[in-house]
């Protein structure tokens, strides 16, 4: 169907307001149903047996004792999940990750699963499964993994992207490179060069709701799954492939979601629940424990990054390089590649080169985490940018403004930018009162920029007008950040009806065409655009029906303020017909009134943000307190500004935790030491100030309302902004994230020793 997706400068009546959230009452009263909240008659409890070893050959698994235990209805191993991936390497990695095949690749890797009548029986059954392991040497650190002599995880992993292709296996899965110009020449033109190495530790997305599902799969190949996910269509397709099902016969319903941030874009135990259900011929509920979520879902990469930037005395960057090593757990990822693409995307550079290395280690399979890979690269680059500005005696914001990318800039990852928002966010930062507020003793201020791509993807939306004139919008994108409210606002805007007359729901996989996941900051962009088109299609039907009711040609009818009106000299003089009146007559004018659209939304437009942060450091303990924080970001158009602000604040809050406290701690035995929220400390309200937000609206030319994605960019600058603030407060450059009290104390101690030595 023809449609126009270009920005037109439309004036809004409803979009941009802040109505109450439609899921609010359910969530505050406990009525909202999450992944573990649905039960089925006769359901069993699913539990997973996991490897206690970081790296081990599975010599033998004996499940016979567990199978004989009364109350146990099914036991599965990898033998129950034959390889049906048909040469798809990415899908095979997912299969291997869901259930170890021959080797356990990390502490927590699934090796078997049971379904039993209750949790106690299931736990007892796990203890009766006898797994014989041959322990292998392991490696969990990204730098150790690339050293000669490191234990090699895969005997057939030869670094891709290198010519000639190596003949010796290693833990470097792939090399990738971006950039342009001549960096050596550029460094020769520099008056000042700063070169540093940085490390960031592994963090988890930290969603409060663990992975949970209820699976019911019959021997006839038909099934249902209720699951907490960021993409129920993708879960359906993946599970159908892994289990040899027709996708149409597996109906997946998404629950409310208690956080995902990328971690719920990937299946973990859901295929196991389906396989158990098929074997037991009973519904199986499988809910991960917190320990399992940490050990066996997908955290982000730990990294090691080298950065070198040169500039002239008047503040122009002449050359910039970065070498980025990201671990993806035991499988090939694209995490270093994304880091290499985003590192210098904020800047207008003549000479730039970034090289990424995808490294495998004995840790869980890495998954996306909100603007995946960009925060670590920004930490390293923005730290050096700040240091360089100090060294040439230039204000850090002015230095960035001088070097910022703009329309027409050749980006560091290749293409030339169209209209972009980095300059306006920097100008807004420069003029923000936060930048001029006085600081006290032991306090420091930092700022940093961040970039993320955003994307669109496959989307299907259905809008139905009910007989009483209220409106349903069915989308296939999970509401992770307020999209049901935004879709209702958009439908209300287009149809000219009150927001309260519209209800948006997330439909199951049998009700709509395929939808990609809620990731890539894509939902308000793509489902929003689809809702505009679906509503406009419904409006065409409403006009046709009004024309029938008046017995005039539809060309003589126009739509205005929620009413059909006759238009033109020969249209006649009829009083306007409201949407409600047309809906009430629908049964006799052609039946139900609806508008649909299915499409690929591309052209999401890149996104930029600038953050400002003040910290106070306790030099006695090394503890850091965030005392003021400001997020400035371009939203294109904020459909529901409160939700946009929530995204900005949420990204900043997660970044604060990542910067200061969060860290996977592995023991020498390769086992995770802190798989729980007592020992893995995410920020709580008392750790945070009120995070101030500034929404800039520079319309995206490729969206009818000008929308850009906003969900991810807000986590990109915090690591760097906070590192710059802490470094300024401490008087020593911090190069290792998280900047936990012991690391800050050590940095202060090292600095004192250096000073004493010099004296």
């Amino acid at each position: 169907m023809a449609y126009d997706t270009n920005f037109t400068g439309q004036k809004f009546k409803v979009v941009g307001t802040r109505p109450l959230r439609p899921d609010g009452l359910d969530k505050v009263t406990g009525r909202a149903r999450y992944g573990a909240d649905v039960s089925a008659p006769g359901q069993l409890v699913g539990r997973v047996l996991r490897s206690p070893h970081a790296h081990a050959k599975i010599v033998k698994i004996d499940t016979s004792k567990a199978e004989k235990l009364p109350g146990v209805k099914a036991v599965i191993t990898s033998a129950d999940l034959p390889d049906l991936t048909n040469g798809d390497a990415g899908m095979y990695d997912i299969l291997v990750n869901c259930m170890a095949r021959g080797k356990a690749l990390y502490d927590g890797h699934a090796v078997a699963a049971v379904a039993a009548v209750d949790a106690a029986t299931a736990r007892k059954a796990l203890k009766l499964i006898n797994v014989e392991y041959k322990i292998l040497p392991h490696v969990t650190d990204v730098d150790e993994a690339v050293k000669p002599g490191a234990p090699v995880l895969h005997s057939k992993m030869f670094t891709d992207g290198v010519e000639p292709k190596p003949t010796k296996a290693s833990n470097v899965a792939k090399r990738t490179e971006f950039g342009h110009g001549d960096v050596e020449k550029g460094f020769k033109e520099a008056d000042v060069i700063v070169e540093r190495s940085f490390k960031t530790e592994q963090t988890h997305q930290g969603y409060i709701e663990p992975h949970a599902c209820l699976a019911n799969l019959g021997s006839d190949g038909q099934g249902e799954m209720w699951v907490c996910t960021q993409g129920h269509f993708v879960y359906r397709n993946t599970c159908a492939t892994l289990l040899g099902l027709d996708a149409a016969k597996l109906r997946v319903t998404a629950s409310e979601i208690g956080g995902g941030f990328g971690g719920k874009t990937h299946v973990w135990a859901e295929p196991l629940a389906l396989a158990l259900s098929r074997k037991a011929n009973r519904p199986v509920k499988l809910v991960m424990t917190r320990d399992e979520v940490f050990k066996a879902s997908g955290p982000t990469s730990s990294t090691s990054i080298d950065v070198k930037i040169g500039a002239t005395k008047d503040g122009r960057i002449t050359a910039a390089t970065a070498t980025l090593r990201y671990q993806g757990g035991p499988f090939l990822g694209m995490w270093a590649e994304l880091g290499a693409m985003t590192s210098y995307a904020c800047y207008d550079l003549k000479n730039v080169k970034t090289v990424g290395y995808e490294v495998v280690v004995n840790r869980p399979k890495v998954a996306a985490y909100r603007a995946p890979s960009a925060p670590m690269a920004a930490f390293a680059v923005e730290s050096v940018v700040d240091e360089l500005a100090h060294k040439i005696g230039m204000d850090a914001v002015a230095f960035r403004i001088k070097n910022a990318a703009k329309e027409g800039t050749k980006s560091s990852y290749g293409p030339t930018y169209g209209p972009i928002g980095i300059g306006p966010t920097l100008e807004a930062a420069k003029n923000h009162p936060h930048m001029k507020a006085p600081l006290k003793k032991n306090q420091g201020r930092g700022m940093a920029c961040g970039f993320w791509f955003n994307f669109g993807g496959q989307t299907s939306t259905s809008l139905n007008v009910t007989p009483d004139g209220s409106v349903n919008v069915s989308v296939g994108t999970i509401d992770v950040g307020g999209s049901r409210a935004s879709m209702a606002l958009i439908a209300a805007e287009e149809l000219g009806v009150p927001y309260e007359n519209v209800r948006c729901v997330v439909a199951d996989t049998s009700s709509l065409g395929h939808n990609d996941m809620s990731d890539g900051s894509r939902v308000t962009f793509s489902s929003g655009m689809n809702t505009v088109i679906a509503a406009r299609n419904a409006k065409k039907v409403l006009i046709q029906r009004a024309a029938k009711m008046w017995d005039i040609p539809e060309e003589a009818v126009t739509w205005e303020d929620g009413h059909a009106k006759p238009a033109g000299a020969n249209a006649g003089n009829f009083p306007p017909l409201s949407l409600k009146e047309i809906a009430a007559a629908a049964g006799n004018t052609g039946g139900p009134i609806a508008g649909h659209n299915e499409f690929v939304a591309d052209g999401a437009g890149v996104s930029f943000a600038t953050h400002i942060c003040d910290v106070e450091l306790d030099p006695e303990t090394g503890a850091t307190k965030i005392i003021r924080y400001t997020v400035i970001q371009d939203a294109g158009k904020a459909i529901h500004p409160s939700y946009v602000e929530g995204q900005y604040q949420g990204g900043a809050a997660q970044g604060i935790g990542w910067a200061l406290n969060e860290e996977y701690v592995y023991g020498k035995d390769g086992r995770l030491q802190n798989a729980g929220y007592l020992d893995y400390r995410i920020p709580v309200c008392s750790d945070l100030p009120m995070i101030d937000t500034v929404i800039l609206e520079i319309p995206n030319p490729n969206h009818p309302y000008g929308v850009r994605g906003v969900g991810e960019t807000s986590i990109v600058p915090p690591l760097a902004a906070i590192a710059n603030a802490v470094s300024n407060a401490a008087g020593v450059r911090m190069t290792h994230i998280p900047m936990s009290p012991p690391r800050i104390l050590k940095a202060l101690d090292d600095q004192a020793k250096t000073k004493a030595k010099a004296a």
Partner: protein, 81 residues
Amino acid sequence: MVKVVLWGSLRAAAGGTEAVEVEAGNIRSLFNKLETEYPGLEPHIKRGIAVSINGRIFRDSWDERIPENAEVYLLPRIAGG
């Protein structure tokens, strides 16, 4: 003819060259030509490649027209959170 710039790890699959020239009116025909003329690129295209046309990134819209003298970059198919 369209000049198509390849990112680093694709270059090895296309014989080490940084850019290739093919006759293509849209993304679908671009991929078809690339698979024929540079068979090493086929597995990468199958796994998923994004195409930037004049700065606008397309991941799935293979019908997108490539104008004369357009700036065309092949890029990794970006993941998101």
